[in-house]
């Protein structure tokens, strides 16, 4: 099974068109293996992206360097997955 330990989901707020373009640049960096749940669109609309653990530092540095604000929406994706699994096992037992 794929392991998502340490993966975070960031909610990015691009304030203007220039920042939207910067996030689009991020989208093109294939080696970061970003999974955009809600892609960059227009200024003001939030962008949600799952960031694998090895890429977190690079992504946050990139965002901070360009003064793009973000928050951590999901701290650890794997812990959510574990909760879902536990819930499913519990229901199976029942």
């Amino acid at each position: 099974l794929e392991n998502f330990v340490g993966h975070q989901v960031l909610r990015i707020s691009a304030a203007d068109e220039a920042q939207v373009q910067k996030v689009k640049e991020l989208e093109d960096l294939e080696h970061l293996q970003l999974d955009f749940w809600r892609g960059p669109a227009q200024p003001g609309s939030s962008i949600d992206v799952r960031v694998p653990f090895p890429s977190i530092q690079a992504v946050k540095v990139f965002l901070e360097a360009h003064a793009i604000s973000y928050s951590i929406m999901i701290e650890d994706v794997q812990s959510l997955l574990d909760e879902e699994q536990e819930q499913m096992f519990a229901f199976q037992g029942r």
Partner: protein, 309 residues
């Protein structure tokens, strides 16, 4: 479960369980429900559609699909609930009875079976199909970028390693082609509703351009009514509008193609979750999600029935 009455709609189920559910529903309602196989997936799984019909041949019809993006589990779970709800409401609820007296409903509960099976066995957050691309080690195509509607334009990726990879050519994915063939062969589908999850939106064409579609005013008004009905149950907040203006540019998407085929009432939903859970919406929210969405679906289906074209 031994029947669709004892089936637990409040938990997530595997593909096999959902397929067994379909068989039970057909067996219990032979006069109303039948199961059609419209194709096979890349990995050879059957692709099934439930047909709800009270008779007639190629009546005007409404299409509903759930789960084209495999990780959006609340959609497949909601689709299962919708199927049962249709059988319960026919003959009881005046609107559903009237809709089914005039029209057929087609419901594809698992639109991307390979991807769905993969999310249960290997990678819970898989979104795409499981087809291979020659010359690339990356697997899968985003089936919501693979339709023949501005295929290859901005709003989709040409890189097989991205989540929004559009595929080599339009309809390259058998999961998409099967629906295309079915819709064209049927020729009388009047409403097409593709259900996704995450971010609480009700969207209409276009996705590839910010030019308003010719029916924008009517589609917008109907979206408003549907969202109002949806929100009335649990207060869930929805946004509505065209794909392009509401979320982002997306070329090659499902409802741009259906709209281009003359299916005026083409909509796509994004069900519950503002982001707190991503695609891991707790099972306890399945039934509330399905219930509220149902109210919007009935609003749209009722309008389609009342506005023949």
């Amino acid at each position: 479960a031994r029947s669709t009455n004892t089936f637990n709609y409040a938990i997530y189920h595997t593909l096999d369980e959902i397929y067994e559910f379909m068989d039970m529903l057909v067996a219990e309602n032979p006069q109303l429900v039948s199961k059609l196989q419209i194709g096979n997936t890349y990995e050879g799984r059957p692709i099934y559609v439930l047909k709800f019909s009270t008779g007639g041949n190629k009546r005007p019809a409404i299409w509903i699909d759930t789960g084209i993006h495999s990780r959006e589990w609340v959609t497949q779970a909601s689709g299962t609930w919708f199927a049962k709800k249709i059988t319960e409401d026919y003959g009881q609820d005046p609107k559903i009875t009237a809709i089914l007296s005039n029209m057929d409903i087609f419901l594809e509960i698992v639109t991307n079976p390979d991807g769905f099976a993969f999310t249960h066995s290997t990678n819970r957050l898989w979104r795409k199909t499981r087809s291979r691309t020659a010359g690339s080690s990356c697997i899968g195509v985003d089936p919501n970028r693979n339709w023949d509607a501005a295929f290859g334009m901005p709003g989709a990726s040409g890189n097989p390693c991205t989540e929004t990879y559009r595929g080599k050519y339009a309809n390259s994915e058998t999961e998409v082609k099967s629906i295309v063939d079915f819709v064209k062969d049927h020729g009388n589908i009047k409403g097409f509703i593709s259900i996704h999850s995450y971010s609480q939106l009700l969207l209409y064409p276009y996705g590839y351009t910010n030019t308003p579609n010719p029916d924008q005013q009517e589609l917008d008004q109907l979206a408003k009514e549907a969202v109002t009905a949806l929100s009335s149950l649990h207060g869930t907040k929805y946004t509505y509008g065209s794909i392009y203006t509401t979320i982002y540019q997306a070329s090659g998407n499902t409802i741009d193609w259906t709209y281009s085929q003359g299916i005026k009432y083409s909509y796509t939903f994004e069900l519950r979750d503002t982001g707190r859970y991503g695609f891991l919406l707790p099972a306890s929210q399945i039934i509330p999600t399905a219930q509220e969405t149902w109210l919007a679906l009935v609003t749209i289906m009722d309008h389609v029935k009342n506005h023949p074209y």
